[in-house]
């Protein structure tokens, strides 16, 4: 059974659809990239999947269960975690509170210890407000927070945007490691060359539609869309 199946999805704001007739899927333990230019509807798609939009119709199934009509706050209990494009941590809460506040965690004590173990930088900053963290620490916290409830699907909206090259590398390494934790990944990136390099498959979005979908290696090799959608080398 697919982890995520999206079929004929329409989503938007007010009375406007941004995403139109979109279909995609994510198989267990797959890393799937969604690429697309500025404003092509990537974040709108992701917010729709997370139950944060009112205007949405079509089919969204997670492990065979329909998600449409399920309130956004149920997602984490079902096994879906989300790291938004901006404000991906609670800036006014401490590092520890960011982890404590996540619902649907079975053995909280042990899980917190595991997260602080996996992200040692957070251990030293546990009582620091997340808003005062460095870019790298903040990204680690965003991952740790998302991992708290042991999800089976993680949706990441441009996790490498506005990071230094060294940090981009670090984040991509983290994403690759998710597979080992039993997590499939839906990864949104605007300049997707590096994202596709660690992905199994990819979708290219333009004006709210999927214009190309293929294996990641083939997308990377395709000269035509390289310049248009994937950004410079």
């Amino acid at each position: 059974m697919s982890t995520l199946t999206v079929a004929n999805l329409y989503a938007g704001y007010g009375d406007v659809d941004i995403v139109t007739d979109l279909s995609l899927r994510v198989e267990p333990l797959e890393i799937v990239t969604i690429a697309g230019t500025n404003g092509s509807g990537k974040s709108t798609l992701v917010k729709g999947l997370m139950g944060l939009l009112k205007r949405i119709r079509g089919r969204v199934d997670f492990e065979g269960t329909s998600l449409l009509g399920v309130p956004g706050e149920r997602r984490i209990h079902m096994g879906i975690a989300y790291v938004p494009q901006v404000n991906n941590v609670f800036a006014s809460l401490t590092v520890l509170e960011n982890l404590q506040v996540v619902e649907g965690v079975s053995d909280r004590r042990r899980r917190m210890a595991e997260m602080l173990d996996r992200f040692p930088a957070l251990q030293e900053r546990r009582s620091t407000k997340a808003g005062a963290l460095s870019g790298g620490e903040r990204q680690q916290l965003a991952f740790a927070r998302a991992l708290m409830a042991s999800p089976r699907l993680m949706i990441l909206d441009e996790p490498t945007a506005a990071l230094s090259p060294a940090l981009v590398h670090e984040v991509l390494r983290l994403i690759t490691a998710l597979r080992g934790m039993g997590v499939a990944v839906l990864l949104v990136e605007q300049r997707a060359r590096q994202a596709l390099a660690i992905s199994d498959r990819g979708y290219i979005l333009d004006s709210g539609r999927v214009v190309i979908e293929d294996r990641a290696d083939r997308l990377l090799a395709d000269e035509r869309m390289a310049d248009l959608y994937l950004g410079e080398h």
């Binding site: 917010k47 706050e73 209990h77 609670f90 404590q100 409830a149």
Partner: protein, 290 residues
Amino acid sequence: MGSAYLINLAFNGVILGLIVALAALSITLVFGIARFPNAATGDVATVGAFAGLAVTATGGGTAAILGFGVLTAAGLSLLFYLILFRGLADKPPVASLIASIGLAFFVRAVLTFFVGHNQQVYPLPIVRAVPFGPLRVQPTDLQVIAVAVLALAAVFALLHLTAIGRRMRAVADNPDLARASGIAATRVLVVMWLCAGALAGVSGTLLGIKTVVSPEMGWDLLMPAFAATILGTIGNPVGAVLGGLLIGLAQELSTPIVGFTYKIGVGFLVLLLMLLVRPQGLFAGNALVR
């Protein structure tokens, strides 16, 4: 005008400031989480004060006034959420603001219909003021201070030491991320409205104990409370409390200059100046609930 006079004014300013701070904290909680300035805060406080008055008819003392006043205000606040503000949550904030203004007028009209315009006082035993150096302290003043400080401390403890408080701060900080983290907004909102109503109730009953009970008392409290909220950066609980104290002190200490009648205008003046000079408030960037 001796320093003893000023010291007594300042002491009164602190008491008034604490009462304003309670209302301001209520406003800032609602703003931080439900995201609109609730103009009905003052009239919920009034209802709390009158509930306290009602309980004195059955022989209740200060504790009964406070207890019943706070419970009634908290209940009323929750009721308003359930029947009005919950339905408006998806609309732009101005819809809730306008609704709260309408609600404020409605509550006052209903109260006036039943109790009239008269000012009333709680039938509490009159106790002689005790001199502390130049300061003349009413024992009830000390009670008012103690209750206000306890109520403020209780809310901060709730916000920072409990799981529901942590959730409230998370929703205030980032509603979408809170949702994705599994926090059901409804539960948080119910607790928040109870809390905001209880704060208004404490504010109203203490104002009643300190001064008089009248249908207009809450509306008169609203301007200084809004001023305190803005002064302390709207949405910032610590700021609301400090803003309340500043407004209370400014209002009382200005009495010798502007006279008794116009000191109410000081809150308005501070609000205007603040909005013109530093609209983000004194404590922007240091927000607890954003």
